[in-house]
């Protein structure tokens, strides 16, 4: 518009009609955006993965196709795919700029590197502008896609406290399991198949064989997602992402072993899934760990997070008396250790899976932080807490099998 006025001024002063005509061009270009209709796009997205269940570190090709499902052309579409925050794009770009006639589509292909955990794609963002760029509409387009990068964990680091239902934790009482426990005097009503006939043949006494019962436990997975835990090594995911990935793996294992599993978090938002089991419960648990704001990829504002004491009090009120706690925390401060010890003191069996995100290098501060964390692990083990020191680059399953969780003697 300034240029138009310059041309008008010059044309008028010098009496040059040609310049006045040039200024009319400015008017046409200025009117151009106002003559365009506000775009109302109808878009759909289809996303394909080269591998939905990759190994950690494996590249996964993602092909996303965006289609104009409306009846009008889209002249200016700027599309950004909703890559899960924990996954990094290592090749290509999840962004596309295109124009689509009605019914046509365009695709992008890029590669992400798989990280441990279950990663749901977020809604893709589409900004549609009219051809002049005068008006724009932003819209979210979603389709359910998930990258599941979890290795099966055969065992869960939980204690021996069980509930009455059948599970896979060996109970300290005899019953109808598969492992020999003891023999006792025959009582009327004992199944004939469990009578120790060899002993009867030897001594004439009737006795009954008891097997070790395998019962289920009630376990609540507690993820430490406070601002303090959002730390990580350079170029690595932060500890909360590791904690959530570990919780996802152990949720599967515990549910597979017919335990009652609940989920909660210390963090910005209240996350609570009461202990339960079954297919629907498994889905709810997976969904909670994947998408609940408490497990967000960005650290919360420390001011907006309730105090740890109040969160602990709230959890204590909810926690079933027989429930065990399986805590996922990088143990980067003393408060979380104190909270764990209090749960243990109140009679809940507590186990800890702690991803190690500390570094021992020439930096005094970082080395000190690593030493303090080691100290916290030792203190927990001394109070009888099962604590697994897990290097996130290693398999959690291997770490558990190695028996690192045994309390310090």
């Amino acid at each position: 518009m300034v240029l138009t006025l310059v041309a008008v001024g010059a044309g008028l002063l010098a009496k040059r009609p040609a310049l006045l005509l040039v200024s009319a061009l400015g008017l046409v270009f200025a009117a151009y955006p106002w003559l365009m209709a506000v775009p109302s796009p109808q878009l759909s997205v289809d996303r394909r993965l080269s591998e939905a269940n990759p190994q950690p570190g494996e590249p996964v090709d993602v092909t996303t196709t965006v289609r104009n499902s409306g009846t009008r052309p889209v002249f200016d579409l700027r599309f950004v795919d909703g890559v899960p925050p924990a996954l990094s794009v290592v090749e290509g770009t999840p962004r596309l700029g295109t124009a689509l006639r009605a019914g046509t589509s365009d695709s992008i292909t890029y590669t992400v590197e798989a990280e441990r955990g279950r990663h749901a794609f977020e809604s893709a963002t589409a900004v549609v502008r009219d051809p002049s760029g005068g008006t724009e509409t932003e819209t979210q387009v979603s389709t359910d896609t998930e990258v599941t990068c979890t290795t099966a964990v055969s065992d869960a680091p939980i204690g021996s406290r069980t509930v009455g239902s059948s599970g896979q934790i060996p109970a300290d009482q005899g019953g109808s399991g598969t492992e020999f426990y003891q023999t006792r005097a025959y009582r009327r009503g004992d199944p004939v198949g469990r009578i120790d006939w060899n002993r009867y043949a030897r001594s004439g006494d009737l006795s009954t064989i008891e097997f070790r019962e395998e019962q289920a436990a009630t376990v609540v997975l507690l993820v430490d997602a406070r601002a303090e835990s959002y730390r990580g090594r350079d170029e690595q995911p932060h500890a909360v992402a590791d904690c959530v990935a570990a919780a996802q793996q152990l949720l599967e294992t515990l549910l597979d072993n017919r335990n009652q599993v609940g989920i909660t978090a210390f963090g910005r938002a209240e996350a609570w899934l009461p202990p339960g089991s079954g297919r629907k419960h498994r889905l709810r648990g997976q969904q909670l760990l994947t998408s609940h704001p408490a497990f967000g990829m960005h650290p919360p504002d420390p001011e907006s997070v309730p105090s740890l004491a109040s969160q602990r009090t709230r959890l204590r009120a909810r926690l079933p008396s027989n429930a065990q706690l399986l805590v996922f925390s990088p143990l980067l401060d003393d408060d979380i250790v104190e909270a764990i010890r209090q749960f243990e003191a109140e009679g809940h069996q507590v186990s800890v899976v702690s991803p190690d995100v500390t570094v021992i290098d020439g930096n005094t501060g970082r080395t000190l932080a690593a030493m303090e964390r080691d100290q916290r692990l030792r203190r927990l083990r001394q109070t009888g807490v099962t604590a697994i020191d897990w290097a996130p680059q290693q398999s959690l399953s291997a770490e558990i099998d190695r028996g690192h969780h045994l309390p310090d003697q």
Binding site: L3, L20, R78
Partner: protein, 231 residues
């Protein structure tokens, strides 16, 4: 974990089109005549070396890239200074100097010399080119059709540069954007063409019967209409 960083510099297609249109406009206004041509060629050579230097720095050839960019800038300054001081036709110097400066600024804005490009420099650069159009009209050095075409070309060069920066900011240079850019550039060119054709047609219809005063009144009326449309 290795992740890519987004290259948010202006997109190549729109940037290239913007520069090509700007150079075409300048040449069409007489930038190719012997008085200007050597300096224009020298400046374009300097700008090419500058762009090569900037590209070298981006690809890790820091020292040689900085040296090349420095040489490019010096060559551009020599070209501008040479034209300003060397030519002895003041009117032609006044007419072409803003255009020469404008070309340099436009390339510097979308190459870009630093950051993600500068919309302000694109405006200033194409503003210099437009001044060249205005001076050409003032000095009666071109007919109305050429003035209209070069005026529309200047607006297209500005639009292309601005669009290249916008798309680069939002999607990055690695993103596939050629369909988007081509559609926008063609639409803008179409509007420019329609605008030029409409003005020429209106001029032919009105011919000489429309006095300057009548034209001014028509123009003011159009401005008011535009203001009303905006509300």
């Amino acid at each position: 974990m290795s992740s890519q960083t987004i290259n948010s510099r202006p997109t190549l297609l729109s940037s290239t089109v913007a520069v090509l249109v700007a150079v075409t406009v300048f040449v069409a206004l007489g930038g190719g005549r012997p008085l200007v041509r050597p300096w224009l060629l020298l400046e374009l050579g300097g700008l090419s070396v500058l762009v090569l230097g900037i590209t070298g720095v981006r690809y890790g050839y820091r020292v040689s890239g900085v040296v090349a960019a420095g040489v490019g800038i010096v060559v551009c300054v020599v070209a501008l200074g040479g034209f300003a001081l060397g030519a002895d036709e003041l009117i032609q110097q006044v007419r072409y100097f803003p255009g020469l400066v404008g070309l340099g600024l436009l390339v510097g804005a979308i190459a870009p010399i630093r950051g993600q490009g500068s919309r302000l420099l694109v405006k200033v650069g194409t503003g210099g080119l437009f001044l060249c159009v205005v001076f050409t009209g003032l000095f009666r050095e071109a007919d109305t059709t050429l003035l209209l075409l070069t005026g529309a070309g200047t607006i297209l060069a500005w639009d292309g540069g601005d669009y290249a920066i916008g798309v680069g900011e939002q999607l990055g240079r690695q993103a596939q954007t050629w369909r988007l850019e081509l559609t926008h550039l063609l639409a803008s060119a179409l509007v420019g063409g329609v605008a030029v054709a409409s003005v020429i047609l209106a001029q032919r219809v009105a011919d000489t019967q429309l006095s300057l005063a009548s034209f001014v009144l028509t123009f003011v009326a159009a401005l008011l209409l535009l203001g009303a449309l905006r509300r």
